[in-house]
Amino acid sequence: MIQGQTLFVNLKELREIIAEDPRFSKVEIEIVHPGDNVRVINVLDVIEPRIKVEGGEIFPGWIGGTGIVGMGKTNVLKGVGVVEVGLMKGSQCGILDMKGPGSTLTYYSSLHHIVLITDPKPGIDQAEYSYALKMAGLKAATYLAKASVSIEPDELKVYEIPPLSRSSIKTGLPRIAYLYITECHEPLKEPFIYGDNPRRFFPTIFHPNEFMDGAMVSCLYDYSPGLKNFTYSIMNNPVIEGLYERHGRELIFVGVVVANTHLNLEEKKRSASMAAKLIRFVLGADGVLITKEGGGHPDIDLMECCEQCELLGIKSSLINCEMLSPDGTGNSMVAFSKFANCIISVGNIEEMVDLPPVERVIGGKEMAIGIKGPFDRPMRIPIRLIPNAISHVGFTHVRGEEF
């Protein structure tokens, strides 16, 4: 229920809905607020509560059917997050402090979070657990947003770009596309698109609004937080927001191309050429902003895409993290193209952050990654463990600089 600026959550009811899934042996729900002296561990994903009011469904392939989304009216509970927490042994996870130096590095600490703390049923494999967790997160996000259905929103934002045929009128403004390179492989490394893990898909065109209704959700549980895009950041992609903001005034936002990261050179090159083709010959773009996910070899996909676009006359700018030693030495990236002369840094993922002791820890008694408890003590961790401190879509103020 929503009264004014406050969301009231029926914890018992929500807990029952989540615990219905037989793949969980235990479900607990905690609520944390910005400024609370609390540390949330085993963070696997963060989702923004949204619900469709008219014109389609939300979270297609999971909550909604597989019909296209991005039209009509969607209610958003701004300032709220749903956090998926669980012990995914041998995998990765994040540490989110709601107060202190760790919290200042991430936008996520400014949200009120409903934290779903789950234990898997003994014996089920990690992939099943990951799907259960994803479903739980999305169910919770939808359940919470339902409270807004009959209420007048505080703010109305309109996101609209016409189909290509109508945007081809010469305006004198540069036509800008956004190339989103995701990383999609085996279970636990799966961003889902309309409920499917397409894995070997060819680059394809998306309308930016599709992301806003949850067409892509992240099950990249096997990735360090700093190396993946959380569902919250995919739905609130600041590149998309920024391009929309300027649409019609400084630029024409012509659309989004989504491509995958591949495991061999031939596939990387093929994918890059195809993405560049769509951007140049279908979207007719003058410029492209490119982001990626993952570490290491995905730098090659990023560079190949940059090069193929530039060779077709499309100017590119890239966003990337830096994979240096904790002391800031080494090489920022593992691949480079001579065309990549416009790269924005979102920081060295290995730089250490000192976290102070906290009063309370939620999210379990041990962590999936090798850090030993107790977790309320002072901790020194690489910044990539803080969800959204390093953000591959630039949803962060953190950056790297020469010293």
Partner: protein
């Protein structure tokens, strides 16, 4: 700080007013107070500092006797207990630049004294010490002496007073190849969009990650006769005996393992596994020869294609970006292989 910053100035034989090239072989000596451009330095230090001594050394002497010269300079430096050492500026003079760099590195490492020097970016001395030493960027000739020295003094004072040193562009020194995270006013996405629009318009635009500079290594001479060669296998894919007896780290290893291949016709999965965390090790664990090709190497040894397979496998888990570790591990392995008179190496990497 009421006390004056005690500065030692290091210069070469020319600026030390001993002579030109013909005097470049003089051994280092020390004199009280400033000499030559040290007078300008004294003026720039003003009330805050003083040139307590000048150390002069011939460029050729230093270049030809680096270890000896370093010891001698150290002995001249230490008794003064200075707060700061300013070397040069060397502008584009190569031997002078190398000497300045070495003196600064030495003083910092051995005596913990703060140092600043000045060089033109192409001075060969830059690459030798850019990581450890603050090098003020100067022009190529002594015409820019005043400007260069003023910047050296400014940075030197900051170091002496233990103030926070800002970024290279701001303070005027050459980038040291060290990066740190900072907080920007804007989201990365905003900076990227702005940079893209500027790039399209043909205006200056930001670039926050520059391509790395790598030293090129002179290629080793080729093997003349493969059929009489000893070939060693090295891997960065983390292949170890099952159970990882030496506890090699599963990513960004700081060590490497040495394992005997004697009597083995191939690697089998009961005895070997990969502990590398950075890739899916399923295929390699099914058949380790997919990472370290012992099976075909043994065949080629029997066929006489190669003389012999070196009896040891060297293994580590590499991540390309951790340059310092991989340099050290590489040097150690290289030394071992050289001593074992290995003719050539096949390295496999994931």
């Amino acid at each position: 700080m009421a006390q004056k910053v005690r500065v030692i100035h290091y210069i070469n034989q020319f600026f030390g007013q001993v002579g030109g090239e013909e005097k470049a072989d003089i051994a280092p000596f020390s004199k009280e107070g400033p000499i030559g451009p040290g007078m300008l330095l004294r003026h720039l230090l003003g009330e805050k500092g003083e040139v307590i001594a000048t150390i002069v050394c011939g460029d050729t002497y230093f270049a030809n006797n680096i270890e000896k010269a370093k010891k001698e300079v150290l002995q001249l430096l230490a008794p003064h207990k200075p707060d700061l050492i300013l070397a040069g500026p060397a502008f584009n003079a190569g031997r002078y630049g190398i000497a300045c760099g070495e003196v600064c590195k030495l003083a910092k490492e051995e005596l913990g004294i703060e140092t600043v020097t000045g060089m033109y970016p192409e001075n060969p001395g830059v690459e030798l010490c850019r990581r450890e030493v603050y090098i003020i960027e100067t022009g190529s000739s002594a015409r820019n002496m005043t400007e260069a020295m003023a910047k050296m003094v400014q940075l030197g004072f900051k170091l002496a007073f233990k103030e926070t040193i800002g970024q290279p562009q701001k303070e005027g020194f050459l980038p040291r190849g060290i990066r740190r995270n900072t907080i920007s006013e804007d989201f990365g996405s905003e900076r990227a969009i702005r940079a893209l629009l500027a790039k399209i318009k043909g205006e200056p635009f930001s670039n926050e990650i520059k391509p790395p500079l790598f030293d090129q290594v002179r290629p080793a001479p080729p093997i003349k006769d493969l059929s009489h060669s000893i070939i060693a296998l090295v891997t960065e894919g983390g292949l170890v005996p099952k159970g990882n007896p030496d506890h090699i780290e599963s990513a960004r290893a700081t060590r490497y393992g040495v394992y005997s291949l004697e009597g083995l016709d191939r690697l089998d999965k009961e005895r070997f596994e990969s502990i590398h965390m950075g890739y899916d090790t399923t295929f390699v664990n099914e058949d380790p020869n997919r990472l370290v090709p012992v099976d075909v190497m043994r065949e080629m040894e029997q066929e006489g294609v190669i003389g012999a397979l070196h009896p040891y496998l060297y293994t580590t888990t590499g991540v390309a970006t951790f340059v310092e570790n991989s340099k050290k591990i590489g040097r150690d392995i290289a030394k071992t292989l050289k001593e074992a008179e290995v003719s050539g190496v096949i390295l496999t990497s994931t």
